[in-house]
């Protein structure tokens, strides 16, 4: 008698997502990036661990050889490339695959995409701006953008203007020829130590703006490279901007709506990265459960308690994946989801991001429990995903600002 797949112990479960939202080309892109992840990152983890040079080499292959940078930001308007926001679902799949390999690389790459998406969606890509951004996306070597977003303030600096409840870290003042940018100890989201361009959300008396600041500008002082729990690929540092002169072209007005859009893209892509990390953590713990025994002989996965924990790992990731694909579709085609405003979509995106981060962190926490000492040994690599996801979760601002966003959107709160 032939055993069924289940009787034979085969894995029949997948992590389903709505395939109809992705065309053949999107899946091919994802598979190509997935292969890059397997070969350049997962297959070389024991050899390189979190070696920064290796990570940058791998990202260069992705960005330049595989041409991701070229698709994100075409050199000329008429060149082929992703169309924003329609490419959101494709990008979700792509960033899942990057996240499987290394969440830090996914994160710093996602920041570039989010900025590109917002700039293109707002139709503000005049020739001088395009040339400026081309220098990042079309340079021969890998170049990074560091994004300075509003966030927590500091009592020693006094009250600062807030955008969606987040305190702006930098201030612009008008000069005879353009603008002057000032900030003390601004904490970028990413790559403060090695970016070639800073994109700084700043306030000025009449509102807010996005300032594009070359890292070589006089008046920029970088702090020491920060040591973070995870996301090693993002070499971050606090930055002082002391009277940095900017021409008018480098200062783009940033109203509430495009700011929310920027948050939405970051939330979407970073959530996909976290899901990718979760999927790889599942792969690691599945391998462990296939081979380790408990109580003198039974496989871990055949013990009801361990099976329950293993199931929870899967359940968290499964739901997180569905959520992030749904968000991707809502970003691409908000009408299909009945999304009626930027506030609405931003609250949805922030909710998905917070939930996905918590679910994936919970899943990895539980997977580590199954692995005992191997859970915290660097050799097994699962601890890296755990550090990366929690670092990503905090770096994006944690839960509180999102809860306030949701309360504003769903309850009309006005004073929070």
């Amino acid at each position: 008698m032939k055993l069924s797949a289940a009787q034979a112990g085969q894995v029949t479960g997948s992590f389903p997502y709505p395939r109809q939202w992705l065309d053949t080309q999107s899946e091919e892109i994802a598979q190509s990036i997935g292969k890059w992840s397997d070969v350049e990152l997962i297959g070389k983890r024991l050899e390189y661990r979190e070696n920064l040079e290796h990570q940058m080499r791998a990202l260069t292959i992705l960005s330049k050889d595989l041409g991701v940078d070229r698709f994100i930001w075409p050199e000329r308007e008429e060149d082929d490339g992703f169309t924003f926001p329609e490419a959101a679902s494709t990008l979700v799949r792509a960033y899942e695959e990057i996240g499987r390999g290394d969440a830090g690389l996914g994160f710093i790459s996602a920041i570039k995409v989010a900025l590109a998406a917002v700039l293109m969606e707002n139709g503000r890509v005049d020739e001088s701006l395009r040339k400026e951004i081309n220098a990042v996306f079309h340079a021969d070597k890998l170049e990074l953008i560091s994004l300075v977003m509003p966030g927590l303030g500091d009592i020693s600096r006094g009250a600062r203007p807030a955008l969606c409840g987040r305190e702006v870290q930098a201030e612009l003042t008008r000069t005879k020829d353009g603008w002057s940018l000032n900030a003390a100890g601004a904490r970028p989201l990413n790559s403060g130590a090695n970016a070639v361009l800073y994109a700084v959300v700043a306030s000025y008396p009449e509102g807010f703006a996005l300032a594009l600041v070359p890292a070589s500008s006089p008046g920029i002082k970088k702090g020491k490279t920060l040591t973070m729990a995870g996301l090693k690929a993002s070499q971050n540092a606090d930055i002082d901007f002391w009277g940095v002169s900017l021409t008018n072209e480098r200062v783009l007005p940033l109203e509430r709506s495009p700011f929310q859009r920027l948050l939405t893209w970051i939330d979407l892509l970073c959530s996909a990265v976290a899901v990718g990390a979760g999927l790889d953590a599942y792969r690691i713990v599945r391998d462990w459960a296939d081979n380790r025994v408990i109580k003198t002989g039974g496989l871990l996965k055949e013990n009801t308690m361990d099976a329950a924990v293993l199931a929870q790992v899967t359940m968290d990731i499964l739901l997180a994946r569905i959520a992030v694909h749904s968000l991707g579709r809502a970003v691409a085609y908000p009408g299909e989801f009945g999304v009626i405003s930027g506030d609405d979509l931003a609250a949805f995106a922030a909710t998905v991001r917070v939930s996905v981060m918590e679910q994936v962190l919970h899943a990895i926490n539980r997977a580590m429990e199954m692995m005992g000492s191997a859970g915290y040994a660097k050799e097994w690599n699962i601890e890296k995903h755990w550090r990366d996801v929690n670092t990503l979760k905090g770096t994006l601002g944690g839960r509180l600002p999102v809860e306030m966003d949701v309360a504003r959107a769903y309850y009309g709160s006005t004073r929070i």
């Binding site: 003198t296 005992g372 979760k393 306030m404």
Partner: protein, 420 residues
């Protein structure tokens, strides 16, 4: 400004408490805390860590504590407050660095078998005490349990009954000859000076008489310590492989003998549940850091601690500290007074310890994750020290059989489960 050591005020009426807490806090604030951000990179060399260990274990003398006074020790093992005093010490040391807390605690742990009343083996204490008491530097001991074939099976003594033990002890004349391979003991990776090795005198046997705990000085021929493993945290606690090849020690190096070694090993496991203190110290320090952070950082122009939503989260953290401390100090009280609470190796005490440990450590991890979330990008930043505590205490959750064995042992006693 609130007393930043609010949660480290005395929990007992013992006059010694203030003194012990005071000298360790001074060590923590002047030696360990100023350097701990560099400990991760020091995981192999232990250049900085050794300095802190020496100051604590040798200069302050804590490595002597467990031994009887007759041997030059502080008699900790023979007091009615051994576990509670360990609580003060482990909390205070782990507030600075739980890896050093663990290294210190494991210095005592294998010696509980021979240095704790009512089963002091004075001959062995006198044999090994000089190694620690008359030393010219820090000395560490290790308890060798885990073997390659099964992580938590050895600690699961009630069900597995030692039948998976592959490390063997053969009595040849008046010597034990030990062969086997152990993984992961704390204070190994080249650090251990004295090891207690759990082995079997009859491979495959379920008879408790065949479980032996034998002491092996690290210099004994045939003992090989491997290099330390690289871990997510707790750099001060080195772990590695240890191989025993035809290792010969005197027959009287066995802790107590047939039946008693297995019995007192259960007591050693109960003491292991005091490891909750290694997680509570970091959580208490996280409170201290959060106090500063939430007073200094603002959201929408208001200090974080003045936001009701943040206050609600902060309240969860202080609640976690208070409730966890109460339950772990209760465990310590149970271990201190077997005349009131029953033998330390009884199912009730072991089960209470297991149940408490997994809930408390889970709570500590959750609360530190809560703190990291409040702190946003600064939570994962080494400059604020919270992420170090988070990485360190995850290790405490996963060892000595991990969370799941704690859950099973908890249920066994409280629900009379027979097969778990």
């Amino acid at each position: 400004m609130k007393d930043p050591h609010l949660f480290l005020r005395n929990v007992s009426n013992y006059p010694a408490e203030s003194y012990i807490r005071g000298i360790i806090r001074d060590w923590a604030d002047h030696i360990a805390i100023p350097n701990r951000r560099s400990y991760d990179e020091d995981w192999q060399a232990h250049a900085l860590i050794e300095h802190a260990m020496k100051a604590l274990l040798y200069d302050l003398g804590f490595q002597k504590a467990i031994f009887p006074m007759e041997c030059g020790g502080w008699n900790l093992g023979q007091t009615d407050s051994v576990a509670t005093m360990c609580g003060w010490m482990f909390e205070e040391v782990s507030r600075a660095d739980s890896g050093i807390g663990v290294a210190m605690g494991v210095c005592y742990w294998p010696l509980i078998m021979i240095a704790a009343k009512p089963h002091v083996n004075m001959r062995l204490c006198k044999e090994f005490a000089p190694m620690f008491v008359d030393a010219d530097g820090p000395r560490l001991s290790a308890l060798c349990l885990t073997e390659p074939q099964g992580g938590a099976d050895i600690e699961n003594i009630d069900i597995v009954k030692g039948r998976t033990l592959k490390t063997t002890a053969r009595l040849v004349g008046d010597e034990w000859v030990i062969n086997g391979h152990k993984l992961w003991p704390t204070n190994t990776g080249g650090e251990a000076d004295l090891m207690a090795v759990l082995c079997t005198t009859n491979p495959g046997s379920e008879n408790p008489d065949d479980i032996a705990c034998i002491y092996v000085p690290a210099e004994t021929p045939g003992v090989t310590q491997g290099k330390p493993y690289e871990k997510v945290g707790m750099a001060a606690d080195k772990n590695g492989d240890i191989w025993f090849e035809e290792v010969r020690v005197p027959a009287w190096y066995r802790a107590h003998g047939p039946g008693l070694d297995a019995l007192y090993f259960r007591e050693v496991l109960a003491f292991a549940m005091l490891s909750s203190f290694y997680a509570l110290g970091p959580l208490i320090n996280t409170y201290e850091i959060l106090y500063e952070f939430c007073s200094q950082k603002t959201l929408n122009g208001i200090p974080l601690k003045e936001h009701d939503a943040v206050a609600a989260e902060l309240s969860e953290i202080v609640g976690g500290i208070e409730v966890s401390r109460a339950s772990v100090y209760r465990l310590a009280a149970m271990l201190d007074r077997p005349d009131i609470h029953g033998a330390r190796w009884s199912h009730e005490v072991v089960s209470y310890g297991r149940a408490t440990k997994h809930v408390v450590v889970d709570r500590c991890i959750k609360d530190i994750e809560r703190a990291m979330d409040i702190m946003g990008t600064y939570g994962a930043d080494r400059l604020w020290d919270v992420e170090k505590h988070w990485r360190d205490i995850k290790i405490i959750q996963l060892w000595v059989g991990g969370k799941q064995l704690c859950q099973m042992e908890g249920s066994r006693f409280y629900f009379d489960s027979q097969t778990l």
